[in-house]
């Protein structure tokens, strides 16, 4: 099946990733750990842009950027340079943003996603480093605001802007690309995607080969999918009514689920880029071999290995390798349990329960899931009880061996069942007689009694067989 892209949709994404796992900001020594702190407490002359302050490049940020570039299969530039992007905005303390222009640190890479019709290669145009501006907090809504506070804690945080080629043909593919990007970044351990503003998306979209429209202010992956669905529909409707799509920038209104025009091409800024005189060009190509050595096994490679090494379903391998923590967790489990059982329990069951509670795999112990798998495997508990133990651990805590006892989940022992069978038969002479006279249904009465005596823990079918065996003896 080939996806024929009936509307000629082309989507390119610009993703800003905040490298919040660096200890310090891009050009100064201020701590990046500001998310729980008071406004304007993680600032210094440099990130406040005070007169006379000068930037100094954070070498580790360069290493992180190269790591990302290499993981996205990019070429690394020989010598990288920073430029000034000049525009006025109150969150921009210097009146320009220090960014990269014609010498981005990485370019011409690719990301493989599960497309509409199988595997699809999405080109990465470039990945460049830049500083994050501060953050505006309006008093009240943006339209009616009486004033604005500026928090510069974020100012100077390291961003990597990853620009894709316009290779995605549907909002679903865009979503898959974003998920894949996040997965790769997660493997590289360069950012914590759960922190606010860790990944921000701008989307460029066109239909039927027309001009592209840029959609800004997308705050989540789900938002990206919604914004794109709306924008494609809007463009198609506009063309159907005889309109023409022009180059413009639109703003996504998350609450209303619509895009609103911000400015057309004539109103675009002239950023007057020029090389940042306060930072000297930096030779980075020589570092590539060392950085390559630090690259972990990435999601695609890991998935293939899981397929071949553990013989598990591709669906499971994929689910297990999206997050590196989950993959590592699975491999530990697979050492102590049957890998196929482990895949089912981790990928299908545990992940579902974790997602439902918005929890991380860190919330669960490897030995607990191993224990649960083993109890099921030994037929000491039912699968349903296994799920119940997982839920109990997540909601109340505790260990499996205690929970099976406290909740009485162990399948009852044979002798208990045997005893219950004997008692049930002894207590029901009429039913035995009726059964022997050909009234098959009477057997149910006796089995019911067995179940009653074992508080329902016995297997009904097993109990029935045992009752029969005893009567026919």
């Amino acid at each position: 099946m080939v996806y024929d892209n009936p509307d000629g949709v082309r989507i390119g994404l610009e993703v800003h990733v905040q490298l919040n796992k660096l200890n310090t900001k891009l050009f100064c020594g201020c701590s990046t750990d500001y998310h729980d702190d008071e406004p304007n407490t993680h600032v210094c002359p440099v990130c406040l842009g005070l007169p006379g302050s000068l930037p100094v490049i954070n070498e580790k940020a360069v290493d992180f950027a190269m790591k990302i570039g290499l993981a996205l299969n990019c070429e690394i530039v020989g010598q990288t340079q920073f430029h000034r992007k000049n525009y006025y905005y109150p969150d921009l303390p210097k009146g320009f943003q220090t960014t990269q222009y014609d010498y981005p640190i990485a370019s011409r890479g690719k990301v493989i996603i599960e497309g509409e019709d199988g595997e699809r290669v999405i080109g990465v145009t470039r990945a460049h480093m830049e500083e994050d501006p501060g953050r505006l907090q309006h008093i009240g809504s943006i339209e009616k605001s009486k004033g604005t506070f500026i928090n510069y804690n974020r100012s100077g945080m390291t961003l990597i802007e990853i620009v894709s080629d316009p290779d995605m043909r549907s909002p679903k593919e865009a979503r898959r690309y974003l998920d894949k990007l996040r997965s790769i970044l997660d493997y590289l351990d360069v950012f914590n995607g759960d922190l606010e503003g860790a990944m921000r998306v701008d989307a460029n979209v066109s239909v039927f080969g027309g001009d592209r429209v840029e959609v800004k202010n997308i705050s989540s992956f789900k938002g990206a999918e919604r914004a794109l669905l709306y924008e494609i529909m809007r463009q198609k409707n506009h063309i159907r009514r005889g309109g023409k799509i022009v180059l413009e920038t639109r703003h996504f209104d998350e609450a209303r689920g619509v895009t609103i025009s911000m400015r057309t091409k004539e109103e675009e800024h002239d950023y007057r880029y020029f090389p940042e005189p306060d930072l000297v060009p930096m030779r980075v190509a020589d570092r590539v071999p060392d950085i390559l050595k630090t690259l972990p096994e990435l999601p695609d490679a890991k998935r293939e290995r899981f397929n071949s090494q553990y013989g598990i379903a591709d669906m499971h391998a994929r689910a297990l390798t999206i997050q590196i923590k989950v993959a590592d967790f699975y491999e530990e489990v697979a050492l102590k349990a049957d890998p196929k059982d482990a895949a089912v329990w981790v990928a299908d069951i545990l992940k579902g329960e974790l997602n439902y509670r918005d929890l991380d795999v860190d919330a669960f112990r490897v030995e607990d899931i191993v224990e649960i798998i083993s109890l099921v495997k030994q037929d000491r508990i039912t699968e349903q009880s296994g799920v119940q133990i997982i839920r109990t651990i997540l909601d109340e805590g505790g260990r499996p061996q205690d929970i099976v006892v406290s909740k009485g989940l162990l399948k009852v022992e044979d002798d208990i069942v045997a005893k219950a069978v004997e008692e049930a038969i002894a207590e029901s002479p009429e039913a035995v007689t009726d059964y022997l006279a050909g009234k098959e249904k009477s057997l149910n009465f006796i089995v019911g009694k067995v179940m009653q005596k074992t508080k329902g823990r016995a297997d009904a079918r097993e109990a029935r067989e045992k009752v029969l065996a005893s009567i026919n003896k």
């Binding site: 007169p51 000068l54 100094v56 009146g95 020029f274 306060d278 000297v280």
Partner: protein
């Protein structure tokens, strides 16, 4: 006029009395000043001097009073670039050079006047009004570090710091008859210097003797990791202070003489070169063919960088704020009121030069010319040890004479700006007088070869008496 005293003289005076007394006597002189050289006198100066007396600081500048240009950040002391837009701004941090001076025991007396944001050659564009030339108070002291030069010439402080983007240390040094050094780009940290044109400027010392220049460089020079353009390189500048120019090869660039140069200035400079010949040096004419394009290249680069550097002054965080209905109106009104005419002119021209469609024609071309100018210096200085030329084409001009004619003011920088484009070091030393006004000899050296130009300047000083003449002593 108070007598000129150099650093060794100050140390003798401190030994005989105290740092506090020396500081007090300078503060008294400043109190009677009529040249408007200081913008702010630091109210903690005496306290600092007392501290030095008490602790017996052994720093190389213990108790030595210094004056600092208005564009070098001083914690707790107003730093405004002599602009309306920075009124009320008090930096929370010290520039690298200020940290160094403080650690060396220097006593900062206050801040000195300058052309607004260092954009000028006369110190007339200051928010605080013009500084007067101590040699003739009807004349300008030069600029943009006019205050720093004038207060040294007037004996209000023994040494000072200026900054030199296109001649802003050397020009006022020449006009005020003092010594001023523009170090090699990267020799002194710019951390804390409020940028006008980052790729061109350096902080430089001003003093009455070459010895004091070297002593100051020993304190303020050196690598600073906070300035990515500062170079890791050790140098003892005072090692250069030797009276010996035998065998020194001097190049005299023919493009720096002739048309546009006052003939008395030119004659005075030739006399100086003759003196060097007497002292055992040799000279020859050299050609620097791209000099004629240097001025245009300089102004395009400087204005382009300035248009970006000055974008941060928007009334949001510090300095002047003129209220408006929204942020854009507030920022526009603040900038309209806060910046002076020359600053606005340069921001507009710089913005234009960087704009889409003009960027390649102006900015990019200026960068290419810069490379050619640099090659002129490399070639010339491969052949000779130093270059010598008039620092300024004329002696100090009258206040008001050129301020309304920006082009004629820009032309006055013709001999100083190529040096900044190339990044090489250059010193201006007094080499004589014309019409009672000092003339400056500019000595230019190779990258990071300050010691050769210091030695040349020191030798000249040892064998002539121009630097000992004080305002009022020359007919």
């Amino acid at each position: 006029m108070a007598a000129w005293t150099d650093i060794s003289g100050i140390k003798e005076r401190i030994a005989a009395s105290s740092a506090e007394e020396v500081t007090a006597s300078y503060l008294e002189t400043i109190g009677k000043s009529r040249i408007n050289g200081f913008t702010t006198v630091w109210d903690r100066a005496l306290e600092v001097a007392r501290g030095i007396d008490k602790d017996g600081s052994s720093g190389p500048l213990a108790g030595v009073p210094v004056a600092i240009k208005e564009n070098i950040s001083t914690a707790g002391l107003s730093t405004t670039c002599s602009s309306g837009i920075l009124q009320g701004y008090v930096p929370p941090y010290d520039a690298h050079v200020i940290e160094k001076l403080k650690a060396a025991g220097a006593v900062i007396l206050g801040k000195t006047n300058m052309d607004e944001f260092a954009m000028g050659t006369s110190t007339e564009s200051s928010y605080y009004g013009p500084t007067l030339n101590p040699w003739d108070t009807g004349r300008v002291p030069g600029g943009s570090s006019g205050g720093s030069a004038a207060v040294v010439a007037a004996g209000e402080v023994p040494v000072s710091l200026g900054s030199d983007t296109g001649g802003s240390v050397r020009c006022p040094a020449a006009f005020c008859g003092v010594v001023g050094l523009k170090p090699t780009y990267g020799a002194v940290s710019r951390y804390g210097l409020i940028s006008y044109a980052n790729s061109l400027e350096q902080i430089g010392p001003m003093a009455t003797t070459v010895t004091d220049i070297a002593l100051l460089m020993d304190v303020i020079g050196g690598h600073d990791r906070r300035d990515s353009t500062s170079i890791k390189r050790e140098n003892r500048y005072s090692d250069a202070l030797k009276d010996d120019v035998k065998g020194l090869k001097i190049g005299v660039p023919e493009e720096y003489l002739g048309e546009g140069i006052d003939e008395n200035v030119e004659r005075t400079v030739w006399d100086a070169i003759g003196k060097y010949e007497e002292m055992g040096a040799s000279w020859k004419k050299v050609s620097m063919p791209h000099t004629k394009y240097a001025l245009a290249s300089y102004y395009i680069i400087a204005m382009s960088e300035a248009s970006s550097n000055l974008a941060r002054f928007d009334g949001t965080r510090y300095g002047l704020r003129v209220e408006g209905d929204n942020w854009h109106i507030m920022a526009s009104k603040t900038r309209a009121q806060g910046f002076g005419e020359e600053v606005k002119r340069r921001i507009l021209l710089g913005t234009y030069a960087l704009s889409a469609g003009y960027h390649d024609k102006y900015y990019l071309k200026a960068l290419k010319v810069r490379t050619l100018v640099k090659q002129d210096f490399d070639r010339a200085l491969a052949d000779v040890d130093v270059l010598m030329a008039p620092t300024m084409p004329t002696p100090a001009f009258k206040i008001g004479e050129k301020i309304n004619d920006p082009l004629s003011l820009y032309l006055a920088d013709v001999n100083t700006v190529p040096v900044n484009l190339a990044g090489v070091p250059s010193i201006s030393v007094p080499c004589g007088f014309t019409g009672g006004l000092p003339v400056g000899l500019q000595i230019i050296g190779r990258h990071f070869d300050e010691n050769t130009i210091l030695r040349a300047a020191y030798s000249f000083e040892q064998n002539t008496g121009h630097h000992t003449k004080r305002p009022g002593e020359v007919a």
